[in-house]
């Protein structure tokens, strides 16, 4: 009898082991040309604003391609979308078009789940600001076309600024810290009641790293990675240096020397909407939440102030990608061309706010929609935009650093201890270099 169950167990294991292999043949050949039969175009994304925009422009697209009967858009909140990507892309169960934020898409681009751009799509990207190419290029080819770019900006509570006697938005980090100190309010026990500047001290690791990247590293003239001078396409840690030290020291000083925030205070957009922070660094989309949850807050936005070593902000963009296993590739490409055309971008900016990636495009349209969003739609002269790179290891690098940072920020003993800050920096650099080594992307 034991033998019987053993045979049964082996049979079941073998069945499931072989059952995994069959999904590749299930896909049908994609349509590369125009079709005589009706077509339904499918698009998945995680931005409700863009869903509305695509639905609004679809009738115009239909005039060009009447056989496309329907644009079927599946919207998912970003957390669900990211989980779904990891399952559907390897399984090949994909829509015709996917709109994904660049930082989430890089690992799937390098894994080969999307089609590289055609010459026509590349021609569109060529008319856009050069910074966009950084988040689209891998191995000399481009993947995806920017559809909704945005950058990291500052949200200011104007009433708190007036109360503290501040009459203009900070233009440099010195002014930013000075203003944050003036606007910080403490409880009787010494804890923060209203933070002068809301600091991202934890949460989703990638997000924690991104904030450290823009507030700390970019302002101090360094980046997370540096490309090898001798071996292009290979990288090493870019912040194991003076700039990186200054970036980490800035965080430690803001927490323990200037005390503009602490770990217990309300954070981020929730704090800004509740009047519990004077300055918040965020993406422009958080204005929706502020308007909903803090309708009485008197606010405006401004670009990132000039850092001690550089004036930079990061550029994030939703890109339209065509999955390798998609079915209606011809129409998918045509729709991407149509939606990202100069005319449609102008329409998007004019009617819904936002920013146009085209080099010579006027950016005032978005400001007309909401003047408070001036910081989001104007790039000051001299300010450079940095985008996330398309690297195999980058996602892991972001997560691993983001996992280390909360403990580093919580370590009070780092205050005034340069040696200890350097030690932490070297630890982080080792993690970054190890990640590049793991993906065979490391070189000095």
């Amino acid at each position: 009898m034991k033998k019987f169950f053993l045979v049964l167990l082996v049979a079941m294991t073998a069945f499931f082991a072989f059952a995994n292999g069959g999904n590749e043949a299930a896909t049908t050949a994609p349509k590369a040309e125009r079709s005589n039969s009706p077509v339904t175009l499918t698009l998945w994304n995680s931005s409700q604003t863009m869903v509305d925009f695509y639905e609004a422009i679809f009738p115009e697209f239909q005039k060009l391609y009447p056989e496309v009967e329907k644009l079927d858009i599946l919207y998912m909140p970003i957390a669900d979308f990211v989980k779904k990507l990891a399952v559907v892309l390897p399984a090949g169960d994909v829509p015709d078009i996917m709109e994904i934020e660049d930082s989430w898409a890089t690992q799937y681009v390098t894994a080969g789940y999307f089609d590289p751009n055609t010459d026509e799509l590349n021609a569109i990207v060529d008319q856009m600001q050069p910074a966009f190419k950084g988040c689209l290029t891998y191995n000399g080819q481009m993947w995806g076309v920017p559809s909704a770019p945005f950058n990291e900006i500052m949200f200011y509570n104007l009433d708190m600024m007036a109360e503290a006697g501040i009459d203009h938005l900070p233009e440099t980090y010195e002014e930013l810290i000075e203003d944050a100190i003036k606007m910080t309010k403490k409880n009787a026990d010494g804890s923060i009641d209203v933070s002068g500047f809301s600091m991202r001290l934890g949460g989703n690791p990638s997000g924690t790293t991104q904030k450290f990247w823009v507030l700390g590293l970019l302002a101090n003239g360094v980046d997370i990675y540096e490309e090898s001078k001798t071996q292009p396409g290979k990288y090493h840690c870019g912040f194991d240096n003076e700039g990186g030290f200054n970036a980490l020291k800035l965080y430690i000083d803001m927490l323990y020397k200037y005390q503009v925030d602490d770990s217990a205070s309300l954070k981020d957009t929730a704090a800004f909407s509740a009047g519990k922070t004077a300055i918040n660094m965020r993406e422009p989309s958080s204005s929706v939440s502020i308007q909903k949850n803090g309708p009485d807050i008197n606010w405006t936005t401004g670009p990132m102030p000039k850092g001690p070593a550089a004036h930079q902000t990061f550029l994030i963009t939703l890109n339209l990608y065509i999955p390798r296993d998609g079915q209606n590739k011809f129409y998918a490409r045509e729709f991407v061309k149509f939606a990202t055309s100069r005319e449609n971008f102008e329409k998007q900016v004019r009617e819904r706010g936002g920013m146009s990636p085209y080099v010579d495009c006027g950016l005032t349209g978005g400001v007309e929609v909401d003047p408070r969003m001036v910081g989001a739609y104007t790039i000051p002269e001299g300010m450079t935009l940095k985008s996330v790179p398309v690297q195999n290891a980058y996602d892991q690098v972001q997560i691993r650093i983001g996992e280390m940072l909360p403990e580093i920020f919580a370590d009070k003993s780092l205050a005034g201890n340069d040696e200890a800050i350097w030690a932490k920096l070297h630890e982080m650099a080792k993690v970054v270099n190890d990640a590049y080594k793991e993906y065979d992307e490391y070189a000095e």
Binding site: G203, E403, E407
Partner: protein, 296 residues
Amino acid sequence: MKQLNKQKTQNYIFAYSILIPIMALFTIIRFYPIISTFITSFYKKSMIRPGQTFIGLENYIYVLKDPEFLKAFGNTAFIAFFSVVLSVIFGLFLAVKVNGKSIKGMSIFQTLLFLPVIVSMVPATLMWQLLFDFNVGAINYILKAMSLKPVNWINDIRIVRWPIIIISVWKEMGYNMMIFYVGLKAINKELYESADMDGANGWQKFRYITVPQLKPVTLFVSVISIIKFVKVFTQAIVLTSGSQSAGNILKTAVYYIYQQGFALHSMGRASAASIILLVIVLVLTWLQMMISKEKD
């Protein structure tokens, strides 16, 4: 004789026709994932990239050398130890109280104590998150009312393990109470009557009758609690996630597995960490059973 054999065969056929679907289901949902996890732990395998490479014990070496795993394991051990000890002690204490003299409305009291067991962990943790909140939480409000300093329960790395232990004990002690309660009901009342005649006091009866008689139940409760608390995950992730907290400050072993598998997409390392955790639980259970046997 022939008739008897035929009957026996028919019985066997009937028994196996009933058992085979259940065994098949059990194989699919229990054995296959364990075997598959064990096999995967020897491969370099990404969740999002096709193909896999056999790398022997490399995943195990990586996990055991990874400071993040050691940190996560340390947190898990700390939480599991205090949660097991406290939930067993409180469970036993409540069972003894509930088993005492019959009080009016005792069944309502029992229901209230058992209620946390059936509440889903996510909403329960969200409720506790509000209670532990530094700024608006009821616990700090009480502390302030008592002229004590408010505690940064969720975002202070030195403290954050305690709210997890409190939530875990609150959630589990009702279950332990019920098991102990059943155990107490099974103790022969004559033992207590004899002790009464010998003039034993309450503590002596508890120490020399209740505790020894409940030994098998205590072993069962402890083993079950260890298995549950070594897998601590939901309460840690819900309590400390989000940009409102110093999130991910409290990494547990299961969180590490989740992170390796679903954030870093390294199924090989996630599998290796899972097997290590499985071995640890097996060893702890075996040790506990051996210690108990030794004492017997």
